[in-house]
């Protein structure tokens, strides 16, 4: 998953898929899975069957077709952001909005040592490992032995084994291990009751080391902030981060004629297009692109798959010929296709509050 120093790079290691590699299989928008390449086995999804041996030797980023030419997927190189979207959820995880903010605000960079509790499913941990590579380390703790082991395996598979140490420990009850005193450059807590740990964190945070605590409930945040204040922490700040995603599509809009009549022409064209394109529907996950001929002019139709709907859209290229169509006299160009965007109605909402603080610096 991580970049390799230049002098150790070989063409194949960087770009080409090999046996044993973890691959992100991109099926369509909002649908990705992880796969480990294993000769002789196959990857199956609703679109087709994909033998792994077909993938070996191909560069990451390739589009591969399934058996008998049915179905296709893209094979992507794992990054911590993609991993967050494909990992198996053993617990509720953090997503890129919170993760990126934490890494940025805690000023995590190469060589730093980060303490984390709890590991959970390893979503944040993977990003932390990427940020501290190659010389830093992440000490991650979880009180659940099986989950800790699953996380360890994930890190190993992704080549992060040397950067992350996962230990089974109840941080809330026992605090961090003694041998990590004075070694941390940042501490992250995702605990049900972080205020129990805060009074004991002083020694680990000496030297203006920043702390972050993640809690879904406002009551937890209040008790955490109280504990921080009474333990002489400073720069206490609480945030909420969200990402608003936009749905981008093309759409025709009706317009009114001089007499106030709604122009129906564009809609007619659209239904014609729909009829014709229906016949050309392929069995792939993504619909095929087919040229259509209408009234002697070539139109390119294309269906843009996004979200849950598929909308047939006319290409915005200038050879559309719509305005030349005899049926369309009087239709303004601007009543045809436009690229529009609006937020998705359903979106990921609240995950949690992020509270940051620093141990007060000592005066000489």
């Amino acid at each position: 998953m991580l970049g390799v120093p230049r002098d150790q790079r070989t063409e194949s290691a960087e770009c080409l898929i090999r046996e044993g590699d973890v691959v992100i299989v991109y099926e369509r928008h909002d649908r990705m899975k992880q796969a480990t390449v294993c000769k002789g086995k196959e990857f199956q999804n609703r679109f087709g069957v994909f033998p792994y041996c077909d993938w070996i030797g191909k560069p990451f980023g390739s589009r591969v077709v399934g058996k008998k030419g049915i179905g296709f997927v893209y094979l992507l190189k794992p990054t911590p952001e993609l991993w967050t979207l494909v990992l198996s959820h053993r617990t509720q995880i953090l997503y890129v909005a919170d993760i990126s903010f934490v890494v940025g605000f805690l000023e995590i960079g190469p060589g730093k040592v980060v303490l984390e509790s709890g590991t959970g499913s390893g979503s944040l941990t993977t990003s932390l490992a990427r940020s501290i590579a190659p010389l830093g380390h992440v000490y991650s703790f979880d009180f659940h032995e099986l989950r800790a082991e699953a996380a360890r395996e994930d890190f190993k598979r992704n080549g992060l084994g040397s950067l992350v140490t996962v230990a089974v420990r109840d941080i809330q009850g026992q605090g961090f291990p003694e041998d990590l005193v004075g070694r941390a450059d940042a501490v992250f807590l995702d605990l049900p009751q972080p205020w129990l740990v805060i009074p004991h964190l002083g020694r680990y945070l000496e030297g203006n080391v920043p702390l972050c605590s993640f809690s879904p409930c406002i009551e937890q945040v209040q008790r955490t902030c109280e504990a921080l204040t009474s333990n002489h922490f400073t720069d206490i700040r609480t945030f909420e981060v969200l990402l608003r995603s936009y749905d981008v599509r093309t759409q025709t809009f009706g317009s009114l004629s001089m007499t106030g009549v709604k122009e129906e022409i564009a809609a007619e064209n659209l239904s014609q297009v729909r009829k014709l394109s229906g016949q050309k529907r392929g069995r792939d996950g993504l619909k095929q692109t087919e040229p259509l001929v209408m009234q002697g002019h070539v139109l390119t139709t294309e269906e843009v798959t996004n979200g849950k709907e598929c909308i047939p859209a006319l290409s915005s290229s200038s050879d559309i010929g719509l305005s030349k169509n005899p049926e369309n006299t009087g239709v303004e160009r601007n009543s045809s296709e436009r690229i529009v965007a609006r937020p998705y109605p359903e979106t990921r909402g609240h995950t949690g509050f992020l509270t940051f603080a620093r141990q007060g610096s000592n005066l000489n």
Partner: protein
């Protein structure tokens, strides 16, 4: 990881205290104003209407708070403890954050408050007398509280606000902070860009940074020297990346930040097999092919070709006949000796200082070009002629405009004859004649300053550009509000290696929506996402928890995706 804790702690302190000469960020009155400053004993800062020296800040840890204190010698900064509170007998509580203080249930409210400026009995004149007599800001604020008729009747929260307001005016405070790139763009947006672009060790990040250079700085901070950054530009003049100097980069980090014009990168990428596609190569008598150039091993001591204090003549035409450029008459070239000591992280090439003297007969002025000859990673030794080929690159030499002189020189290791061709690039140029004689000597001068030869944002060498052309960049970040994102994508996505992530930041959504639509249509990328980051800060206090009243409504949009083959 086996260092003992005190060693680690002191090591960490090195990065967390103010070092003399370093760049620092002054946070005045808790976020009211931010200024950059240099931590010199002679630096001053203006607080209110007094100027104070920054000398007391040197050696203190970041996060330390300072206040102005008057004494006979003049106003100066003293460090204060953050626990220090303004004491006031009128204050009706002991603990600000004690759970007992439930402001909502208190019996005080503002129903009797008349806002007509008569509550304060201390006059402006009396306050100025106090100041003149050396009263500290804190004392003045305490006096104001004592003389306020309405203070007693204010709610606790109101009293706090009053105290804070007076304090900001009469006892301003400075918090010294470490400069960090996250203070420019809204911090969540910047952090998101870095994550979406998978900025991590050993990355080769391509940047189109038209935001003043701080995107470059942020990526530089995050890479910490492990990897390379190419801040590219499309204008003919190199954009100023002066901001990079404000971030106290280590030489390691500085040396990983390059700039290169976009046309060069595109050329290198489209002609992947030719490394010197951008340079006029006509090595006279040199018989190796370009392929050879990349197949041999770096000689053990390439410097033996140029012995110290030996004059080596270069004969040959300075420029192609077809490329004559006019010299600005009378231009004096700056002489600068810089010893280049490249860190092992960069490109495995060893820089070597060379003084090239060129006598321009036509204009009767002699000038010297000082620069570096970079020995490429692989250079070839032709057994017959014993020529070693080096590429010459000097940069930023002239007072006006910038000259980049590039070329290829062949050195005969026997006769120490150098020959080759040099071409001038960009603004200022000179007219060449066939009779120009170039002499090259090597000079073992000391560092002028390591910063200059490894300064952040210096021009990438031909080798470096060729490397990026061959392998592609591992990710792309674009922050160019005045460029059309689609056009940028069409030209720059091909520069990425396959399956590389990219993210484009833009203040407006519609251009990104159009770009996204076309990328999808042309199948140039997958996992496309148009996002708007949203950030809200909360005030968390007992019974007073609510989001801040001030909020940033928007800070731009990001289009992210992964390049497909």
């Amino acid at each position: 990881m086996s260092e003992n804790s005190s060693e680690t702690r002191s090591k960490r302190h090195m990065g967390t205290i103010v070092i003399e000469g370093s760049s620092i960020l002054l946070d005045i009155n808790h976020g009211d104003r931010f200024t950059f400053a240099r931590a010199h004993t002679s630096s001053m800062v203006k607080l209110g209407n007094v100027k104070c020296s920054l000398a007391p800040l040197i050696g203190c840890p970041f996060g330390s708070i300072f206040e102005v204190s008057k004494d006979p010698k003049g106003p100066h900064l003293v460090q204060v403890s953050q626990d220090k509170e303004i004491q006031s007998s009128n204050c009706n509580k002991t603990e600000v954050h004690g759970v007992e203080e439930l402001d909502i249930c208190s019996d005080r409210d503002n129903r009797d408050l008349i806002d007509d400026n008569t509550a304060q009995s201390l006059s402006e004149l009396e306050i100025s007398y106090m100041r003149r007599d050396g009263a500290s800001g804190t004392k003045i604020v305490e006096a104001l509280i004592a003389n306020s008729a309405s203070f007693q009747n204010k709610t606790t929260l109101s009293q706090e606000k009053y105290k804070r307001k007076k304090q900001k005016k009469h006892a301003p405070r400075i918090v010294v902070r470490c400069p960090s790139a996250r203070r420019y763009l809204r911090m969540d947006v910047l952090a998101l860009l870095l994550s979406l672009a998978n900025v991590g060790a050993n990355a080769d990040v391509l940047l189109l940074d038209e935001l003043g250079g701080f995107l470059t700085a942020a990526v530089g901070e995050r890479l910490g020297g492990f990897g390379t950054i190419c801040s590219t530009y499309c204008a003919s003049k190199v954009p100023s990346l002066g901001m990079l100097g404000l971030f106290n980069f280590t030489p390691c980090t500085s040396s990983s930040i390059f700039c290169a014009p976009l046309f060069e990168l595109i050329q290198a990428r489209s002609s992947i097999s030719t490394a010197e596609g951008n340079h006029e190569v006509s090595a006279k008598g040199h018989s190796s092919t370009e392929a050879d150039l990349h197949s041999t091993v770096l000689p053990e001591s390439p410097l033996t070709a140029l012995l110290p204090e030996q004059q080596t003549k270069i004969a040959g035409s300075l420029l192609d006949e077809s490329e004559k450029i006019l010299l600005v008459k009378g231009a004096q070239l700056e002489t600068r000796m810089s010893k280049s000591l490249k860190a092992s992280l960069i490109d495995s090439s060893i820089g070597f200082p060379v003084r090239v003297e060129m006598a321009a007969q036509e204009f009767s002025c002699s000038y010297q070009l000082n620069g570096e000859i970079e020995f490429p990673n692989q250079c070839t030794v032709d057994a017959k002629s014993q020529l070693q080929t080096f590429s010459l690159e000097t940069d930023n030499l002239v007072g006006e405009g910038s000259i980049a002189t590039v070329g290829q020189l062949d050195v005969d290791s026997q006769t120490h004859q150098l020959q080759g061709e040099i071409k001038n690039r960009t603004n200022c140029g000179f007219k060449g004649t066939d009779d120009m004689v170039h002499t090259a000597t090597n000079a073992e001068s000391k560092h002028d300053s390591q910063d200059k030869s490894l300064r952040a944002g210096r021009r990438a060498s031909a080798n470096q550009v060729a490397y990026w052309g061959r392998h592609g960049f591992s990710s792309l970040i674009v922050g160019a509000p005045e460029m059309d994102p689609l056009s940028v994508c069409k030209r720059m996505l091909p520069l990425l290696s396959p399956s590389a992530p990219f993210v484009i930041y833009h203040p407006y959504m519609q251009p990104l929506a159009e770009c996204m639509h076309h990328l999808r249509k042309e199948r140039m990328a997958v996992n496309l996402q148009l996002s708007e980051p949203w950030l809200r800060e909360y005030q968390v206090l007992p019974s007073q928890t609510h989001p801040h009243m001030q909020m940033s409504s928007t800070a731009g949009f990001c289009l992210s995706g992964t390049r497909t083959v």
